[in-house]
Amino acid sequence: MARRYTPLWLLGVPLLFFAAFFLAPLSVVAVASLTQAAGGLTFANYAHILADRYHWDVIAVTFRIGLATTAICILLGYPLAWYLVRIVQWPWWRRVCVIVLVVPLFTSNIVRSFGWMVMLGRNGMVNDALMGVGVIDRPMRFLGTELGILIGMVYVLLPFVVLAVGNALARVDPACEQASSDLGASPAATFLHVTFPLTLPGVVAGAIMVFTLAVSAYVTPALLSGGRISVLSMLIFQQYSSVFDFHYGGALSIVLLVFTLIMVAAAGRIGVPAGSAR
């Protein structure tokens, strides 16, 4: 009989802590988003956001950057993961590569974005290099453009995809690929029909991680936008730190939360392999 209560003892403290400092604060935000300073239940805050062109533009920029970051991270991260798992021969070199991959993860977004601020500036290394090669003849504007934000975001989030895909790739049973090629499949067909589907869960896990981090990122867009581009998280921060409109800020927070959860749920569906029972 005593045994039945054990999970409660073990889980009690963390659940209480999360109820008090996670659920309760979020409920406060949800409630604030549905009320106004004068009191009374209202959808005015949401109407204000959804009826306004400017907000749709910000939402569009936020999710465009999020989707583009995710797509580029996967397109680039997959080959890098492949290289690390399948091509690298010497264990010490793989070790160095993994450290190179993980060090940025362990470094603050500011430090990393700051590095790009220096390199993407008018007289930064990137412009120098592009002009040196002759691709452009005048310095290009990166800071304050979506391209600049995208370069910084991909940089910050790429390691997540590489680790997720690399992990999945390392688990693929070589016998499956062997069987495919023994049965006459070309390497491309083996990759498309055997290897890629087996790594799909890793790809989806990495994509969800990158997407949620990209749409909620604050530091990187704030530093690389130069004040010219706004994303949702920047609007939210403004409302809470300088405008002090908790009702409107709350509605913005809930909008970001809901859009993110919808995207995550949609990606979760792709992750289920076709034909599997689940």
């Binding site: 073990l10 999360f18 690390l84 793989r94 993980v102 500011i110 949620t212 970001l256």
Partner: protein, 262 residues
């Protein structure tokens, strides 16, 4: 063969892309010029000296370190038992409880930061070390929970039952039988927890003041207005901390996460 070389080229280019900004910052922090430049002109440690002479940087380093250590410690004490409960017992509402404890991973931190600010405002729980600590504990807990849970397998039950059949107290069983098997998960989770607290801006920014600041928030506020080599030196110091953490991780549990499983 051509594809193989293409993959190689892409991979090398990406590895350079990943290291370059860090190398630039480290390099720029040694320059003797009063502005940031890379490659550095000359070679000096003055900017590091200046950082250490500035009491506000030193106190921010102390705050960040204490905060990250305390949040990690509390997260371990709370989530290791939780992981045990989730792995060893079946009870109603289990899926919902584990989803709740993991959800800070997908929740935008800026939303949680704003929520805690507004909520804490009702109790005067804002702009204090405790307010920072509570928020950081919430966001780092899932890292420890996830990596500890991953190492708890059903096969360990037999050993635990043997231990209790032989008369060990449940706590003895935990410390002598279970803990050694999940230690690596706790260490990995703790390091990820420590680091995600150590680099957090989105949550801390709502609760920091001029006197109570963390390194990332201080850097963030500074970088938006001024850029000089002191910033590079402070950044360089945080990169050194990151590399140290990784070396510790590599030496204790091994970082070889990408080798093909035999």
């Amino acid at each position: 063969m051509i594809v193989r070389w293409l993959v190689r080229l892409v991979a090398w280019a990406l590895l350079i892309y990943l290291v370059l900004p860090l190398v630039v910052i480290m390099g720029a922090s040694f320059t003797t010029t009063p502005y940031l430049t890379f490659p550095p002109q000359g070679w000096t440690l003055d900017w590091y000296r200046q950082m250490l002479a500035d009491a506000s940087y030193v106190s921010a380093f102390v705050t960040s370190s204490l905060l990250a250590m305390a949040a990690t410690l509390i997260a371990v004490l709370m989530t290791v038992p939780a992981a045990l409960a989730l792995a060893r017992y079946d009870f109603p509402g289990k899926a919902a409880m584990s989803a709740l404890l993991m959800s800070p991973l997908v929740l935008p931190h800026i939303v949680l930061g704003a929520a805690l600010l507004q909520f804490g405002g009702y109790f005067g729980l804002t702009r204090s070390f405790l307010a920072l600590l509570i928020g950081h504990t919430v966001i780092v807990a899932p890292f420890v929970l996830r990596s500890t849970f991953a190492l708890l397998s059903p096969e360990q039950r037999a050993l635990e039952e043997a231990s209790s059949d032989l008369g060990a107290h449940p706590l003895q069983t935990f410390f002598l039988v279970t803990l050694p098997q999940i230690r690596a998960g706790i260490v990995t989770g703790s390091i990820f927890a420590f680091i995600s607290s150590w680099i957090n801006v989105e949550l801390s920014i709502f609760n920091t003041t001029a006197d109570l600041n963390t390194i990332p928030v201080k850097l963030f506020n500074y970088v938006q207005y001024t850029i000089d080599p002191t910033i590079a030196a402070v950044s360089g110091a945080t990169i050194v901390v990151a590399v140290l953490a990784i070396v510790i991780l590599d030496l204790t549990v091994g970082l070889d996460m990408l080798s093909e499983r035999k």
